[in-house]
Amino acid sequence: MTTPDYSDTHRLFLQALISRRLMTEDAAIQLYAHVSPFDQDDFTDFINTVNDSLSSVELEIRRAQDEATGDKIVALTNTNEQKIAQVATGYSPLELEYFKHLLDAIVMADDELYCISSTAAVNEASKLKNKENKSLQLTKAAAEDLLTRFVHDKWLIKSKTGALSLSTRTLLELQSFLKEAYEEQVQECTLCMEIITKGQRCNVAACAARLHQHCAKTYFENMNNPACPSCRSPWDGKTLIGLAPNVEAPHTIRRR
C-alpha cells in the first residue's frame, strides 16, 4: 500500500530520525524541508508515506506531545508492543526485570503521583526476585548506573528533585502494555485520549476528568468560566496529577 512516491528522500529522513531516536516536530519539519523539494504543508502526507513503508516491519512514526513541556515530538516506535524486551533492546533480562519493577512502582504510586524517588528506586533493586522466587543480584551501585542509563535512553525522566516518572517515549512505546496491565491505574486525557501521568484534574474528587497541561490550554482557550468537560463544575487547573515541580517524590513504594 505504499504510494509510488517512496524514494531515497524518505529513506534519508528515516535514517536521520533513527540516529536521533526522538525529535521535536520543529526539527523534523526542518529536516524534511532540507531533504525534500516538497511543500511545507505536505509534511503529514510525507510522514504517512513513510509509515506505509514502515508498516512492513511493524514500526511507525508517531507524533505526541511531551506531558511536561507540551513540546511536539516525533518518534519511531513499534506498532506491536506486547513484549517490553522487544521494544527496549540492549538491556539484559535482569535489567529489564528491574525496569518492569520501576514501571510498576511508578504506575501504582498513591494519589496519581505517577512517580517515585530515585532513592526508593535504588532500594527496590534488592527486592528483585526471579520466577523461582530467588533474589537476583543487583547491587545498589549497579541500580544507580542502570537508572542513569534508563534516563539517558529516554525511558524515564528524572526531575530536579530526583523524582522518576515515565517519559514520552515509554508512554508511546509501551502504551498498550500499560493499558492492559494496569487497567485501573492508567488514565486517559479527556481531550486527546492519550495516557496521562502529568497534568490537571477536576476539583471534584469523584469526577474522572483529566487534562494534559497543553490540552487544558487548548480546551479552555476562549472560555471565560472554565468548566470541567465531564461534570461541568468550575475548573481552576490547580488540582494536579503527577508530581508538582520542585516537590520531592515520596520515598515509599506501594507494592502491587
Binding site: R11, Q15, V35, V57, L59, T79, Q82, K83, K100, F177
Partner: protein, 314 residues
Amino acid sequence: MDEDDYESRGSSQKSNGKRGAPSSSQSHSSGSQKRVMRDIDDDSDQDDHAPKTIRATTVGSKVLDILPEDFERFVKDTVRLAIFSSHSEAATVKRDDIKALLGTHTRLYDSVFEKAQERLRKVFGMEMAELTTKGRSGKNEEKGTKTYILRSTLPLDLLGSESLDWEDQLEDQGLLMVILSLIMVREGVIFESHLKQHFRRLMLMEEGSDIDKKMDMFLKKRYIEKSKLEYLDESGEKIEMEVRWGARARAEIPEENVVRFIEEIFGPEAPKTLRASIEKASNIRTKTTDSNDADAAEASNGTPCGSSSNAIRL
C-alpha cells in the same frame, strides 16, 4: 503479569484484509518478489486436513517448512533488532542475537538474513555489513567476525553535509574524517604521537578539549584500532602506538568519501593533480583516477591548519 507469547501475534499485524498472507510487503512493486505463498486463496480452516495443501514458504529456489507468517515474523524481528541495535553503545548486531530470535529454527538463518537485508534496503536504504578483521602480518586476509553494523546504501551525493544539519554529529564526523584521512595518506597506519602532533597544529589539544574522549569513543565504536609497536633505535627501546582504520570504518566509509573530504578541504584552489597525489600517497585507486601522473607530488602532510572547511568545527 506475564507478557503474551508473541508467536500468536503473527496475525495481529496491520493486515489489509488479506487472510493468511503477511502485510503490505507483498504489494510493493519493486524488484523481484521471490517469495511465493502457496495458500493465498485457501480457506485456512480447511488446511489442517487436506494433505495436498502444504503450508510452506519458498525463498528463491528453497522451500522451507515453516509457515509464511512465522517466516515473516522472523524477518520483521531481525530488521527491528538491527534498527534498534544501532542505539546501543557498540551499535552492532551479533549473528548470535539473530539466531536467538529464530528459536529452534536456526537453520533458517541464511534465508531470514537475506530477506531482512532486502527489507532494510527497501524501507530504510540501509544494510547490515559484517565487520572484518584485517590480517596484519603482511597477509591482508579479511576474516569475518559474525558481528554486523548498519550502514547506509543511499548514494553519496544525497548525504552531502550541506543539505543536512546533523548538529553535534557533524563535529564528530568531521574529526573522524580528519583522522581517517591522515591515516589513509600514510598507507594505512600512523603513530599516535604523530597524530597528536597534527591535533596540536589543529588546536585540538587545548585545555578543556575532549579529544581523548572522542578518540576513546572512536576506538570503542571500532572506527579506529590501535596496536603497540616495540622497536629499537639508536637511543634504545621504543614503544609507539600505531593507529589504523578500524573494522567499522572499513565497512562504513568508502575510501572515495575520504578522498572527497580531502578535496573539499583544499577547496577551489586545489591543484588539478590532487586526487592523483592522494591516491599515490595512500596506495589506493578510485573510480575517477586521472591518468595524469606527471606530478610525482609528495604525499600531502595532512590537512592544512585553520582550514575554512565547514566540516570541522574547531
